[in-house]
Symmetry: C2
Subunit: 531 residues, 2 copies
Amino acid sequence: MNKEQLWQRYQDWLYYNEDLGFYLDISRMGFDDQFVTEMKPKFDKAFADMKALETGAIANPDENRMVGHYWLRNPDLAPDDEIKEAIIKTVQDIKSFSQKVISGAISPTGAHKFTDVLSIGIGGSALGPEFVAEALGTNNSPLKIHFIDNTDPAGIDKILAQVQKRLNTTLVLVISKSGGTPEARNGMIEVQKFYQKHNIDFSSRAVAVTGMDMNSKLEATAKEENWLAIFPMYDWVGGRTSELSAVGLLPAALQGVDINAMLEGAKIMDIATRKPDLKTNPAALLALSWYFGTNGKGEKDMVVLPYKDSLLLFSRYLQQLVMESLGKEQDLDGNTVYQGIAVYGNKGSTDQHAYVQQLREGVANFFVTFIEVLKDREGFSPEIETGVTSGDYLSGFLQGTRQALYENGRESVTVTIPEVNPTTVGALIALYERAVSLYASLINVNAYHQPGVEAGKKAGNSVLSLQNELVKALKNAPSALTLTELAKEINASDEIETIYKILRHLAANNRGLTLEGDLAKLDSLRVSYSS
Amino acid sequence: MNKEQLWQRYQDWLYYNEDLGFYLDISRMGFDDQFVTEMKPKFDKAFADMKALETGAIANPDENRMVGHYWLRNPDLAPDDEIKEAIIKTVQDIKSFSQKVISGAISPTGAHKFTDVLSIGIGGSALGPEFVAEALGTNNSPLKIHFIDNTDPAGIDKILAQVQKRLNTTLVLVISKSGGTPEARNGMIEVQKFYQKHNIDFSSRAVAVTGMDMNSKLEATAKEENWLAIFPMYDWVGGRTSELSAVGLLPAALQGVDINAMLEGAKIMDIATRKPDLKTNPAALLALSWYFGTNGKGEKDMVVLPYKDSLLLFSRYLQQLVMESLGKEQDLDGNTVYQGIAVYGNKGSTDQHAYVQQLREGVANFFVTFIEVLKDREGFSPEIETGVTSGDYLSGFLQGTRQALYENGRESVTVTIPEVNPTTVGALIALYERAVSLYASLINVNAYHQPGVEAGKKAGNSVLSLQNELVKALKNAPSALTLTELAKEINASDEIETIYKILRHLAANNRGLTLEGDLAKLDSLRVSYSS
């Protein structure tokens, strides 16, 4: 295709949303008209699925659940008044609570105002809030936010050290739908103990975001201990699409982010992506590109490159949204399909200096999503050279990289937003939620469950059971045991490798175990307990 | 393979390094003895290449350069005394300079001590320092470090706002081998102007890390303006292997990191990975795993999952090291090969909640590298449940995930280190540098050049030239022009799409341009200049 034809193709396919100042360009994906025609029946089905989902169908059949994240930004769409009112009330409660915290109307004993927020959660309860904090938080946010998003003791210590001096004025959010996610629960217990150690009351500084009337242990704890507040998560909102529920809105509001604008941006994008017409629906255009780029089978990776520092965490957010939704072994008819699309990326032009070498010349196993932000900064830009600013360089590198990749047969999509603000961030979230919904219909998978996540958790828990058993056995053992002897003792000869690893970990943490022998020869090891 | 056989395989292939307390387990990669035998001749060649490289051969033929990053941690290996002494002197200078800065012997006018370091650089001049700061920096580091690693104006503003109150006591490092990398140069100019605006002298707070006697513009500037100090980069150290040169050592030393221990860890690992014997050389074992996992052609991605928050940036560091080194269109004999291995990942168990669903059940286009850290934290861990700590959970999730993936036919490598400290971080860097060297030999590519990076830069620069031309034309135009007219005016009708994008960007940034018409219909647009 020569440059003139390319320019025509660019114009033909360019999507523009006036309300958002948002553009989507898929002209550098190499599909032709025939492909579009062939995809039409699939899209008709996808649009029908979307409509059914939005009107309250059980879109997640395995878990017998409705899928309602679209209602969050337009409660009028909710299937009944109870849901509608719950959504409206929660947003009001979040705004009212946040305003009181920021103004000092709600304040900790012994201080005028809260200064910090410590948010505890993992997965869908962390990635969205982290992305938004990086995108929209400023150095002048009314409360400074910190995240505990793992069960790593050293990681927890590092965050606690950050807030230690202001612990009295640190508000703690514990975010967990079921209340049973171990990482969130562990973080909460460690933080509780830290407050106790410093003789500061935890409950009056603690806020839960959790499922209500769903047997959440977190809800029970928060009520029992009389926490400062509880905000609801809903059965019909999955973790990875919960950023515009209390999960994301509460941390954002506490940082002074305009959550109405986030919701409004998402609502506008929802309207745009509700149109059952491929060419004028940006989420459908994205889904088309993904299907073409990966042959509908995840044959290529999606490399996400926002040319804007504040969007650094968008690809991590998308990793969950895309990979957990689409990465499925079976389709909705029970066929084995091994679906998904791998997502990675950090930011441009930084990543040009990291791995554009491979993107341009190496294994061609990807397509790129460029995210362009038109506005460079608040205020005036100095000239770096005559007539040229650092923002011109950033823009030039994006265009240049897109072009250099295209010349080497590497395809790309370009999303353009006028600036990074609550409206456009809400719109980006909504765009990708819908693109995932539509693409899942195209490939006929359930985008709303995650059956494979349980397996790792179960396997993790069985490792902990084994640990309890072997420690008990060692305490009772009259003398040091070999690995084989210990495994036999607890009837777990099959699990000898796991046993070895548990022992190695415990021995490294002064937990009363001693491993003796040649560490390179595992059959020489003898283990004993002495505490 | 049943569990007993698997345990035997685990023991047979487990690598242990006593000096480092380091383990490598490749038993969950599915190669058999025949594969190992077949690979032997390739490894013999790789070991021979390694030896030649270490003794000063021109290992980077395209650029006619020696490849000497191994000499940095063992100067006795350097091919001549001049190089040897330069290495030793630089490390001494870095330590002496850093100690003086930390103690206040070197201090800014009007204050006792420097408080912050602002490091400006991109790619190899940022990823290593950022990784090490995250891994080894603490809340109590003597100087707090900040990074400008892009040419994003808003990103620069955010970092400058962080240091604004302490600008007088902020030391600036500008890191750029050639001095010509635009992102670093732009960052430097913006920071210089910011100091000027605040009436604080820049030169007496500025340090350059750059190529000496290599016509570096940065060297010239630093000398001309009489900067506080200049540290050398060497012709024979590539950006992506420069973490243990002044590029990485200076920022680390200023944060109080023991750089001798980093170098020592790397030196010990270099010795271990210098052994021309596959089974007892951990880098060779890694290279073998990569070759098997990707069929020697990058057919699968490398997902890197450190179960330790402080190693979060290791995969970003490895993206450059691995992808820029291996992602090549041609092999050393000029055959078109499209090589490489895509690398991504953040940290466990956080990523379990993001995309283990896809890893376990979805498209099987990857192998995993787990990184296990035995020590949980400094000091005592509270119990979360009887006998169980949050660190036990982290460890259990790693084992559980590895096992759950294996049961579904997803392969993995596990690297185990006793703790995250300067020695083990140095060792990890050296391990992967060598694995990349060896793997490049196996697949016969030049790991030390990056011909594809230039294309994006050139394309970027040509966008900026076009911008200058079109602004000039618009200033001279008597009335508003259509895109077509403007393109014709500057003899760039082929570049109309790029012209449109330049205009859109300039118009969004109050640069004197006005775009009028229907923004969705590009042929309706008319552009004029009025400033």
